[in-house]
Subunit: 128 residues, 2 copies
């Protein structure tokens, strides 16, 4: 049912440049922290605005089992703590407990060019 011109655009694909929008970034944008291979109760903190992650955690807490894991690396660690504190204080009024906080190190990159990056994992549990 697609007009030929639209089909053509689709087939020609992306010719490069920042204006190029493929399917993947769109689907990532619609649900913050959702990547293939990441469990549904895990929210990965990145470069999006704080409230994008806050709403993702609220949705997850209200629809899932109530156990949520918030993960971040490097500079995003501060934002992860901010997000958790905003969600706990503003949206759950203290009824979301921090069950565990783990910090660690991940090694990124290929051999010879490895670099270490700090990580944090904050586990949250919704109180009934």
């Amino acid at each position: 049912m697609d007009p030929p011109s639209r089909l053509h655009v689709r087939r020609s694909g992306c010719l490069g440049g920042e204006q190029c929008l493929t399917e993947k970034p769109n689907s990532e944008r619609s649900s913050p922290g959702r990547l293939s291979g990441v469990p549904s109760n895990t929210v990965l903190i990145g470069k999006k605005p704080l409230m994008a992650y806050a709403t993702a955690i609220v949705m997850q807490a209200n629809t899932g089992s109530g156990d949520i894991s918030v993960k971040a690396r490097g500079r995003a660690i501060s934002k992860a703590v901010d997000v958790v504190e905003v969600v706990r204080r503003r949206f759950f009024d203290g009824k979301l407990d921090i069950s565990d906080v783990q910090i660690g190190t991940e090694t990124l990159g290929d051999e010879g060019q490895t670099r270490n990056v700090s990580t944090i994992e904050i586990k949250l549990k919704k109180r009934d």
Copy 2:
């Protein structure tokens, strides 16, 4: 014993500008994270280079009781995690355990102009 010119400079004090160095910043610079009212086993992470705090933690672990508390606020939270991971991996080869990690919120400023800032406290314990 001071020459008069030096005395004059001292008395005239600071006339403003970034070149102005008073006694306080100097004493802070010599011992990272050491402020009046802060327990000696607490290292406050701020804007200094990572290694300044790392050496402060190593010294504290080797001279004190072995229990160290690393605190940070806001953007410095990421650096606090970096510092702890560097000290644990490079200087103690895993013989420094993370006994507890607490995150929270502090309210800064006067009434009407308050703002919330996230905090982290990482408690370390040296293993024998």
